[in-house]
Amino acid sequence: MILLVEDSADDEELVKLALQQAGFANQVRVARDGEQALDALAELPAGVRLVVLDLKLPKLNGFELLRQIRANPATAQLPVVVFTSSDAPEDIRRAYEAGANAYVCKPVEFDHYAEVVRQIGSFWINLNRKP
């Protein structure tokens, strides 16, 4: 299961549509902020195989969430893809420092957007093929 941490309902919808187009529907759990994400991870420690994380989140923001994921031995190895609107070099640097595995900027154009999401999805599929 993919844990999508995203406060924007529009983006949630777009990610879901894109995954659907790519054939990965119904395997997404959504958290609206950092705290919900931590709850979800605590609830289903083994079920979540990939976190797709927005940086701008209410309450606990993306960087803090990422650090907590890495600090917890149960989730320290979990793949995290940062998926955000920002292409500020400062954000990219901080995200990798906090332990992101990949940083992907959300394209405006939906075709590009869908392609990027498809690639994140296949990354996840490949992860799950491993024993």
Partner: protein, 657 residues
């Protein structure tokens, strides 16, 4: 140089002065009366006049007034030469505009020195010949050297011994001296040492000649303070070359100081009502090179002092008379009191001395004393005056230096303060810049989100509900998507523009041709079906920030690609122009543009084509120009409608368009 006009009815004087001036290379014209002088002046303007006062057909002072009234002759320097013993004549002459006044009998060197002094200010500049004093005991050698120097444009003076040399150097202030090292009496090194000791002469450039072939002569010459050195056996040309170099090096010191010199000609004012004693005194002192101005009363003396400077005043006091009063008045005047004043008296005994000293006299000599005593006292007073002058000059120089140092220090402090302010402003600016940058990112982040929704959901509508809307509905949805995408591109462009403005340049050498081929590859990958070629040199090394220059090429090649899409074959070219600094160009065979709008090309959001014709944001060329400017380079464009465009740029400062 123009000649000097001598107007004097005495043939002896005319001949004597003409000889003295000719010896210094100065030509003369001679007139025996005023009528001749007027005639000559009508046809020829001399450099200056030496004018007698008593002339057969009139008064010299009246003639002087006539000269001063005429525009042409008004500025001429005039030296009055008069046998008049009356101080009133001297005062009258000086009041009516005489530049100098010398009493007869005179010493030729004294007159010559005054002539030099008068010609100096008018003759400053390159046309004034350099005067060289030759001191050698061999007449043949002197004449030979004088001839050689004369041919080379120098004016020469001669002296046969070190003693005579010192006197003439002080009197005539030559621009340079050539002195023989070996002479009887005062030899070369001693001469130079003496010269260097006299503050008025110490800076005079001096070349020493010697017969010796070893280095000892040179060492001795330089030890003594010679500026240059030549061996006699090297020949006249070598001496000439050294002389030229020395005079050139001396440069400014050619404006020979007119500071008091111990050895120079001195003017002494003697005050006494006894003509006989004055004559006797003047006779004695003239032999030492002094000019004695004779005043018959204290009033006359003070009147004269107001029009002419003197080096010393001799006040001959008689019991109970005006001597002390004159002394008091001279010493009480701020302009005259620095002149040394020696009081002479017929009275013996301490009372008279005390009275004189109390009145302000600098020294006191009894009339009955030997003239030798007076001479020695006079020299002592002159020396004291000279040292005082020197001390004052040094103090003034020191104070000026001190003021300069203080001003420099103040400037340095002000500068440091400015630098500090600048640093602070810079830091503030840095912070502002950072804030602006993060603001730009935040804004673009927030702007992109709704655009994604507009584009994404329009796309979903088209894909999933396309059948439920008609063609026009689908077209409008397409328009919404195009608008959203265009706004996304605008935001991206603005972010790049703001980034290149701020980014630190990382300069290195790189291959511009290879970079162009990479960018071109990406363009063709996007439209593989298009027939196109890129013409570029195999290798084109340049120096700059290759990441930023890649943005330049992306924009220029991207534009070239975009605007030549309607051609059967797209032909892009990267070339180099052999200028300094090197200029590179990107050209295409596309639609081009009218040069009327070329100056608008590089402004942000400026577009020469409509959006429907060729899509674009209008930020690309602004970004390109920003990057070029950050490299110190320039960019310009040339195009013709239908014949393509060519953008040329440099990556280093300099060069002309």
């Amino acid at each position: 140089m123009r000649p000097v006009l001598i107007v004097d009815d005495s043939l002896t004087i005319r001949m004597d002065l003409a000889d003295a001036l000719a010896g210094a290379g100065i030509e003369t014209r001679q007139c025996a009366n005023l009528a001749d002088a007027r005639r000559l002046l009508a046809s020829e303007l001399p450099a200056m006049l030496i004018l007698d006062v008593m002339l057969p057909d009139g008064d010299g002072v009246d003639f002087l007034r006539e000269l001063r009234g005429d525009e042409r002759t008004g500025p001429l320097p005039v030296l009055m030469l008069s046998a008049e013993s009356e101080v009133q004549d001297r005062i009258r002459g000086l009041r009516h505009g005489a530049d100098e006044y010398v009493g007869k009998p005179y010493q030729s060197d004294y007159v010559l020195a005054r002539v030099f002094a008068l010609l100096r200010p008018a003759g400053t500049g390159e046309d004034k010949p350099v005067t060289v004093l030759l001191i050698d005991d061999s007449r043949t050698f002197r004449e030979e050297l004088a001839r050689l120097l004369g041919e080379a444009g120098f004016r020469t003076l001669q002296a046969a011994s070190g003693e005579e040399g010192l006197r003439r150097a002080a009197d005539l202030r030559p621009d340079a001296i050539i002195v023989d090292g070996v002479m009887p009496g005062i030899n070369g090194p001693t001469f130079i040492r003496r010269l260097r000791l006299d503050p008025g002469l110490s800076s005079m450039p001096c070349l020493m000649l010697t017969a010796s072939e070893d280095a000892a002569g040179e060492v001795a010459a330089l030890d003594a303070g010679a500026d240059s050195y030549a061996r006699k056996d090297e020949g006249g040309e070598a001496v000439l070359a050294r002389l030229r170099a020395m005079v050139r090096a001396a440069g400014d010191s050619r404006k020979n100081s007119t500071d008091a010199s111990l050895l120079g000609p001195k003017r002494v004012l003697a005050v006494d009502d006894s003509l006989t004693y004055l004559e006797e005194l003047s006779e004695h002192l003239r032999g030492d090179g002094y000019e004695v101005v004779k005043a018959h009363s204290g009033e006359e003396a003070i009147e004269l002092l107001s029009v002419q400077n003197v080096d010393c005043v001799l006040d001959l006091m008689r019991p109970g008379l005006s001597g002390t009063e004159t002394c008091r008045r001279i010493k009480g005047s701020p302009t005259m009191r620095t002149v040394p004043l020696i009081m002479l008296t017929a009275l013996e005994g301490p009372d008279a001395m005390v009275e004189g000293i109390n009145a302000g006299a600098d020294d006191y000599v009894s009339k009955s004393s030997d003239f030798e005593v007076l001479r020695a006292r006079l020299r002592a007073q002159l020396r004291r005056k000279q040292f005082e002058d020197e001390t004052r000059r040094v103090r003034e120089e020191f104070m000026q230096k001190d003021a300069e140092v203080r001003a420099a220090k103040r400037r340095a402090e002000e500068r440091a303060e400015l630098v500090e302010q600048l640093k602070q402003k810079h830091a503030e600016l840095e912070v502002l810049n950072k804030e602006l940058q993060s603001f730009a990112y935040t804004v673009s982040h927030d702007l992109r989100q709704p655009l994604r929704s507009m584009d994404g959901f329009s796309k979903v509508l088209l894909d999933q509900y396309g059948t439920q809307v008609d063609d026009r509905g689908r077209h409008l949805l397409g328009r919404i998507r195009a608008g959203a995408q265009r706004m996304g591109a605008l935001i991206d462009g603005l972010l790049v523009l703001s980034r290149v403005t701020r980014a630190e340049l990382r300069m290195r050498e790189f291959d511009l041709a290879a970079l162009a081929r990479r960018v071109y590859q990406r363009l063709t990958d996007g439209e593989p079906q298009r027939k196109a070629e890129l013409v570029a040199p195999a290798r084109l090394m340049t120096y700059g920030d290759d990441r930023l220059v890649e943005t330049v090429l992306e924009n220029l090649l991207g534009n070239a690609w975009k605007f030549s899409g309607q051609n059967a074959l797209t032909r892009l070219e990267l070339g180099v122009e052999d200028t300094e600094p090197q200029a590179y160009f990107i050209s295409d065979n596309g639609v081009g543009f009218k040069m009327d709008y070329a100056d608008k090309l590089f402004g942000p959001f400026q577009r020469l084509h409509s959006e429907t014709e060729f899509p674009g944001t209008g930020i690309g060329l602004a970004t390109v120009q920003r990057i070029i400017h950050r490299h110190g380079g320039r960019i310009w464009a040339y195009a013709e409608p239908g014949k393509g465009a060519r953008f040329t740029f440099t990556l280093a400062p300099g060069g002309a368009k």
